[in-house]
């Protein structure tokens, strides 16, 4: 497996985790819990962004692996 596809897999897992965290942030009623989950969503989004940037770099360097 290439670095690109491994990165895509990790990105997909992280996106999935982020959506569950977002659901919990919405669903929970205690303020303290809400804050923690929202923070978690924030951190996940930052990492997702940074991974997407890296992915763009990789695709630029090796255009044959571009896509999705």
């Amino acid at each position: 497996m290439t670095v690109g596809s491994k990165l895509k897999q990790t990105l997909a897992s992280l996106r999935g985790a982020e959506s569950v965290l977002r659901t919990y942030a919405n669903q929970t009623q205690k303020k303290e819990n809400k804050k923690v989950y929202q923070e978690a969503v924030q951190v996940s989004e930052e990492i997702i962004y940074s991974l997407e940037e890296r992915l763009k770099q990789l695709e630029f360097q090796e255009p044959q692996y571009k896509g999705f």
Binding site: K6, T10, S13, G16, V20, Y24, Q29, E46, S50
Partner: protein, 285 residues
Amino acid sequence: MPQWLIVLIQSLIVFSGILLFMRLMGKKSIIHVPPFFVVVYIAIGVIAALLSVNIINVVHGIIALSVWILIPIAASFTAMRNKWFHDLLIGKETVFIKEGKIMEENLLKERYTPEELLGQLRAKKVFDLANVEFAVLEPNGEVNAMLKADKSPVTPHYLGEKVPPQSEARTVILDGKIMDEPLATLGLNRQWLETELDKLGISPENIFVGQVNSFGEMYVDLFDDAIQMTKPKVRELLYATLEKVKADLYTFALDTADEKVKAIYYRDAEKLEQLLIKLRPYLLH
């Protein structure tokens, strides 16, 4: 009117009257009321029984019953408002053990022998007098004991463990029927519940009792006891997924040759590490 019909009618009337009275009297459990009320209840029971079988004069019976019912209720209300009256009617607590030492004069005052005190402590699962810090005799005759701090059960606070605040689990399905009110207090609705049940592959009619906890996890007990239900694992899976992503990031950092990219991967992995530490008590408990 034939005698048996009179008895039947009187029994039904007295029965309904007493039922109403019990609801008026409130929810204080019979075990925990002061002795005075026990006598009241017995008197009411006896008069009601006699009235129902037509042994005493109906008018006399109703008068007597009214006295025994209305005066205790009035007394309860007055006791609620007036502290002095409350102490007169129901009494105050008596301290039996203070700072680990038995107050012998108080035991004498209440005509309690030491054996009786020990027996009452054992009823509260306290078998070692040395463990008791404070014990009090309640007006209803119960002895309640507080254990010494180092003999009390351990709480997460003492262990320095962070535990996320939780509220009680609400029962949302009873006897196959969905209860909308508890669902609403959790901020959920029927559609959410039906989606969750679809995920489990059961329909509400098969569920005897269904509860939802404050994390939004469902627990169901089915009519058919042969089927095994699995524990909800969503939160553990979430934690595991995040850990895997973190491990992947470390791997990427090791795989890449570019120093700048390495640094970014390490930074992100560190962020996830911190997040996981924070999320641990919320997801893994």
